[in-house]
């Protein structure tokens, strides 16, 4: 059974000029412990889809299922990480990570048992008492990931989490996330517009096309793990990249006059 599944999701926004199909009948399933990437040009509805899966946005039609059970809103079974830094600035790093456990009513000792190993793993132990403003962009995203993991979620939903990082930090963060994923074996849905990032990270890449936001293709990434940075230079990587790029560009060529969307 899939860890998380989106079934026949449609999302229609009413705007002044009419109705916009942000998502049009998208169905996808992500198996347990699977790393799935969702790529597409901006405006293809990939972030909206992720928010629907997170329960933050109610779709016009269709449903989301976690372990086969429908979801009715956000929940601790799905941890989310966004592109913008969403750490609580008034809480120290440790308190940020312990936000979920604290809501659950865990005692201080219990919370420490959760946050301690996570901070260690993220290389943030020394910064446990720092405020988010004292951290670099890459560190902030590591805290955000630790905070999501602290709730022991079934699924991690990540919306371009490394989009705001510079290229070098980004490469480090990707490798780091792979390690985390291999250790925790969480199901991950990872939204990005960076095709290389999607191939490097994913077991599967879902390619979406915009206006209306549709699922174009599902591509299995057969590059063996653990993937090193060198994998990016291999012919197979290049092939996959071309294949995905063509799927996206092909669509763009068909609809050149469409305006830019979010």
């Amino acid at each position: 059974m899939s860890a998380i599944a989106a079934s026949d999701i449609s999302m229609v926004f009413k705007t002044r000029t009419g109705r916009v199909h942000a998502i049009d009948r998208v169905t996808l399933e992500i198996p347990d412990a699977h790393f799935a990437c969702i790529v597409g040009a901006s405006g293809c509805g990939k972030s909206t889809l992720l928010n629907v899966m997170g329960g933050l946005v109610r779709p016009t039609s269709g449903g989301v299922y976690v372990d086969g059970r429908p979801i009715y809103g956000p929940g601790t079974d799905r941890g989310m990480v966004f592109q913008s830094y969403t750490l609580f600035p008034w809480l120290r790093v440790r308190e940020n990570v312990e936000f979920g456990p604290k809501l659950k009513g865990m005692s201080k000792a219990e919370r420490h048992r959760v946050s301690g190993p996570l901070l260690e793993e993220m290389g943030l132990s020394e910064f446990a008492r720092a405020y988010p403003k004292e951290l670099s962009g890459g560190m902030k995203q590591r805290v955000a990931i630790a905070r999501a993991l602290a709730n022991d979620p079934k699924v991690l939903l990540m919306d371009e989490p490394f989009g705001a990082l510079d290229a070098l930090t980004r490469a480090g963060a990707q490798r780091f996330l792979t390690e985390i994923w291999e250790q925790h074996r969480r199901t991950i849905a990872f939204v990005t517009h960076d095709i290389e990032e999607a191939i490097f990270l994913g077991d599967t890449v879902f390619v979406m096309s915009p206006r209306p936001g549709r699922l174009r293709e599902v591509i299995s990434i057969d590059i063996p793990r653990p993937r090193m940075l060198e994998a990016v230079g291999t012919p197979r990587f290049g092939e996959l990249k071309r294949q995905i790029l063509e799927l996206i560009v092909e669509h763009e060529a068909r609809a050149p006059a469409a305006g830019s969307g979010a």
Binding site: G54, G55, L56, G73, P74, G75, T76, R78, G79, M80, F82, S84, T86, F88, P89, W90, L91, R92, F99, G100, L103, K104, Y131, P132, K133, E134, R147, A148, N151, L157
Partner: protein, 259 residues
């Protein structure tokens, strides 16, 4: 460096003032009035007057009377304005109910209420507090509503995904996220409080800085008028410093507070 520049600006203004008073500059420029001590007393005279006012004329009593009115009026405005503003900014229903009314009253100048408030409350403390309240409460409430309404949605959403209920999001995210903005607007609001208080004291009062200024005007005591105005300025600076200090103490995590 920036502190030095700030002081330099005061220096320049006082320097020009001194030049006008102590040299023939104003005369040669054709502004004879500016050389006339009844029109513009010298910095030395004003300083001496200010000292005399505090030492012999019980000015401290008036300063305290004004400060007390500010504190009461301002506390009252914030005690109601902050919770109401946050509620307006956070809950649709509350916003729909209050915002149009408050937005309308906000455009009615508080000074226009003074005659009415004198009839209702007399010319003593209650009236002063009421003027401050009307002048501060309405705009402050709307500013604070703005603060709460503009808390990044993603910050609230992430709390929901971490398992927070609506109330928990309100108490643990929306409120703490609002406090720095609330304090910022309090700092702005207390400036309005001074403006409206002095207006109220100029219209009718038996104590207070505004009252002293008005009495001085009747006797052509330009030096006392200027001393009074400067006193308000100094009090304003002190209040501002107090709010800055509070911000620094309360929000060490803010990007604006240097490490």
């Amino acid at each position: 460096m920036s502190v030095a520049l700030g002081f330099a600006c005061f220096g320049v203004i006082i320097g020009i003032w001194a030049l006008l008073s102590y040299t023939g500059l104003a005369l040669s420029l054709g502004f004879a009035n500016l050389h006339n001590p009844f029109f513009l007393p010298s910095p030395g005279t004003v300083t001496k007057t200010l000292y005399d006012m505090f030492a012999h004329e019980g000015f401290a009593h008036d300063v305290w009377a004004s400060t007390r009115r500010i504190m009461i009026g301002f506390l009252l405005s914030t005690a109601i304005g902050i919770p109401l503003g946050i509620a307006i900014g956070s809950f649709r229903v509350v916003q729909a109910f209050f915002e149009p009314f408050i937005a309308a009253v906000r455009y009615m100048p508080a000074s226009a209420f003074i005659p009415l408030l004198i009839i209702w409350f007399g010319i003593y403390e209650k009236e002063k507090v009421a003027v401050i309240f009307i002048g501060v409460f309405f705009p402050l409430t709307l500013l604070i509503a703005d603060v709460s309404a503009n808390i990044p949605k993603e910050l609230l959403n992430i709390a929901y995904t971490l398992g927070a209920s609506r109330w928990q999001v309100f108490w643990r995210v929306l409120l703490p996220a609002s406090w720095p903005g609330v304090l910022d607007n309090m700092r702005i609001g207390i400036g309005w409080a001074w403006t409206y208080l002095i207006v109220a004291e100029l219209v009718a009062a038996s104590t207070g800085i505004g009252h002293v200024i008005l009495s001085a005007s009747r006797f052509l005591r330009t030096d006392e008028i200027i001393a009074g105005i400067i006193t308000i300025g100094i009090l304003g600076l002190l209040t501002d410093a107090l709010f800055r200090w509070l911000y620094w103490m309360l929000f060490p995590y803010s990007e604006r507070v240097a490490r």
